[in-house]
């Protein structure tokens, strides 16, 4: 087999893995959009915030230490303990639930019945707020996140492919792990929304707010729950991305990566987020591999958007989105 084809296959596989990570972020968007019609730009920052909180908890950092030191002239930074990863994750989850409750209580309760663009702007405001708040709380420097996920080249795949093609594929263990976690997460979410009472209530709210309200579903509770779920998805995405590239500001920019995924898959569809993520992941890696060198490289910044844009011209609601019906 010619070398280029084998390289291409490797790029393809890596694209699939990257796509899974995009899909993870996109999933959080879809959950909130379906249930409350809010296009949550803050999803990426939620991932960053959760990852920061996790690192901070595990290292026993004192929250707001920089601020306290600046105001009172003290010099504190660490409690001096180290938490195991599992307890850290549970505590972070609790904080994300609290955050969901606060967001609902303080912001979106007052914005019911506003236009979607206003809600969207509010989430951008929330994104800015949380970005600054997270930095204030835990400090702005790049942090290393290690919760015990295997990393580095997968030797088994390397060996197996070497025996077949005479060329070992480089696949990161972390990516494989992320794929498995994402699959479990999606299955769990589907099971939750199909088989539990709360899940059914959530689908009812997504279908029709007023009808759900009239049969006694508490909108407030569902919205808090959905934001918590989105917080949970953000935490998973934050752990994966944080382990991959360190917990830093650029983590919040994965929201921008997830947007074309959403457009491609449709804002309202969970399978759409997965398939869209895979298409974008493979598409941008293959494009960079095949066409990138010809036109100067770094095409990954925009390829996903242009692909989604061209796609939307032919199918304005995305792959799996609900058909947009306009009534006068």
């Amino acid at each position: 087999m010619p070398e280029q084809v084998i390289f291409g296959m490797e790029v393809f596989l890596n694209g699939l893995m990257a796509g899974v990570l995009y899909a993870l972020v996109a999933l959080g968007f879809v959950l909130i959009y379906k249930a409350s019609g809010i296009f949550n730009y803050a999803q990426g920052v939620m991932a960053l915030f959760s990852a920061m909180t996790l690192v901070g908890m595990m290292n026993g950092q004192v929250p707001f230490s920089h601020l306290i030191n600046a105001v009172f002239g003290t010099d504190i930074h660490h409690f001096g303990w180290h938490l195991p990863a599992l307890i850290g994750i549970l505590l972070t989850m609790a904080i994300m639930v609290l955050l969901a409750w606060l967001v609902q209580k303080i912001i979106f309760k007052h914005l019911v019945n506003q236009e979607p663009i206003i809600l969207f702007m509010a989430t951008i405001g929330l994104a800015y707020f949380m970005e600054g708040f997270g930095d204030l709380m835990w400090g702005g420097e790049i942090k290393k996140l290690d919760v015990g996920i295997p990393q580095g080249i997968n030797l088994w795949i390397d060996e197996a492919t070497y025996n077949i093609f005479d060329y070992g594929f480089f696949i990161d263990n972390l990516d494989i792990f992320a794929t498995i976690v994402a699959a479990i997460l999606v299955l769990a979410l589907v099971a939750f929304s199909q088989y539990t009472k709360q899940g059914r209530a959530m689908r009812a709210v997504a279908d029709d707010h007023q009808a759900a309200l009239s049969v006694g579903v508490s909108l407030n509770f569902i919205w808090v729950m959905v934001w918590s779920l989105a917080g949970f998805v953000a935490l998973v995405a934050g752990i994966m991305w944080g382990t991959k590239s360190g917990v830093q500001f650029s983590l919040s920019l994965i929201a921008l990566k997830a947007l074309p995924v959403l457009m491609l898959g449709g804002f309202t569809s969970i399978p759409g987020a997965i398939v869209g993520g895979l298409i974008i992941g493979v598409g941008e890696k293959m494009f960079e591999f095949l066409v990138g060198p010809l036109i100067g490289g770094a095409t990954e910044n925009w390829f996903a958007y242009v692909l989604a844009l061209l796609f939307l011209v032919f199918r304005p609601q995305g792959l799996f989105g609900e058909k947009i019906i306009e009534r006068v």
């Binding site: 914005l111 509010a122 800015y128 074309p260």
Partner: protein, 358 residues
């Protein structure tokens, strides 16, 4: 007392249709113009111009442009930064290719070029609506920034990849480059802003503005009563991009002087301009000014208080700024979703009745 329609009789159609039908408004408008043109240029210094006035004037132009598209025509755009970059690079290419032509002509031409690019990226708006369109305009943002980074022709093959504004004069007075006086740059931007503001105000009052608003309120209904959606949406994109392009050109030539495209025209700039029109008020020219003033003044104020008065580290202050900007946006949206312009409208209603509200 001061603010009354009563007793102010209009005897011609022209008077009846003027921009500021109330006498007090009209005098206030003249007063602002006189202060801006005849008083401020005599006492401003470099600090005031660079920290407050130039950003305010330039972002006002961009905010008016984006407000035409988002506030009047209802097409949400997140590609403002990209279009500003088009304006900046267009004016750079024109300035270096035709050094003898007046900078004013270059700025206008740069706006025109941006308008063409805007129309190109506006084409999908006929098929794509709402949030899908907002995200689609991000394609313009990332693609344009990438192209200006990667194609050396745009930055004249300079080694650093930056573009630097050469010195150019307007009626013999340098307005770009290191030798430009602060009052000259201020007046140059002010003239452009004034013209832009008057044109925008009258466009939005006229038939084209009403077509935009019809499309915004309900595009299908507008189509049925005879508004051509293709023409209307594309004119909104063209005129909005023209304004944004002019703002980008001024930002680069007059204000920054040298520009690295990803830094100056990144997606953050798109959001900044969007914040301005949301806080100022969608669908209001006055709101564009108010929002620009707010977003320019607030960081300066915060920085002065936190770094200057309290003596905090700058990175801490920067984090705080994020918190406060985000928090203020949320507070504004909750308390007054229609922005500062709505507050002004309410004030005017109250003024009409004052001091006898019953």
């Amino acid at each position: 007392m001061l603010y009354r329609e009563a007793g102010d009789f209009k005897t011609t159609y022209k008077e009846d249709n003027q921009t500021f039908p109330i006498k007090f408004d009209r005098y206030r408008y003249y007063f602002v113009l006189i202060v801006a043109f005849l008083i401020i240029p005599f006492w401003i210094n470099d600090y005031w111009v660079n920290a407050i006035f130039l950003p305010f004037l330039i972002y006002s132009i961009a905010a008016i442009g984006l407000n035409i598209l988002v506030g009047y025509c209802g097409q949400v755009s997140l590609g403002t930064g990209g279009f500003m970059a088009v304006g900046a690079y267009a004016v750079y290419k024109l300035m270096t290719a035709f050094p003898d032509v007046s900078i004013m002509i270059h700025v206008v031409l740069a706006g025109a070029i941006t308008a063409c690019v805007g129309v190109l990226f506006g084409l999908p708006s006929l098929r794509i609506k709402g949030f899908y369109l907002a995200v689609a305009t991000l394609a313009a943002q990332f693609f344009l920034v990438w192209i200006f980074n990667r194609v050396p022709w745009f930055y004249n093959y300079s080694a650093s990849g930056q573009i630097n504004a050469p010195e150019r004069t307007f009626f013999g007075v340098p307005v770009t480059g290191a030798n430009a006086d602060s009052w000259a740059t201020y007046l140059f931007c002010l003239i452009i802003l004034t013209v832009c503001g008057i044109v925008a105000r009258n466009l939005t009052r006229g038939s084209i503005g009403r077509k935009w608003m019809a499309i915004r309120d309900m595009d299908i209904a507008a189509e049925i009563i005879g508004v051509n959606p293709l023409k209307t949406k594309l004119t909104a994109f063209a005129i909005s991009s023209f304004y944004v392009g002019v703002a980008g050109a001024l930002l680069f030539t007059v204000y920054l002087g040298s520009v690295e495209v990803g830094e100056a025209f990144g997606v953050g700039k798109s959001f900044l301009i969007l914040f301005m029109i949301i806080i100022g008020g969608l669908g209001s020219i006055f709101g564009s000014f108010a929002g620009a003033a707010f977003m320019v003044l607030m960081p300066v104020l915060l920085k002065n208080v936190m770094v200057g008065q309290l003596g905090w580290a700058t990175d801490l202050a920067a984090h705080f700024e994020f918190v406060i900007v985000g928090g203020l946006i949320i507070v504004f949206l909750i308390l007054e979703p229609h922005g500062i312009a709505q507050l002004w409208r309410i004030t005017k209603e109250k003024l009409r009745l004052w001091p006898f509200p019953h």
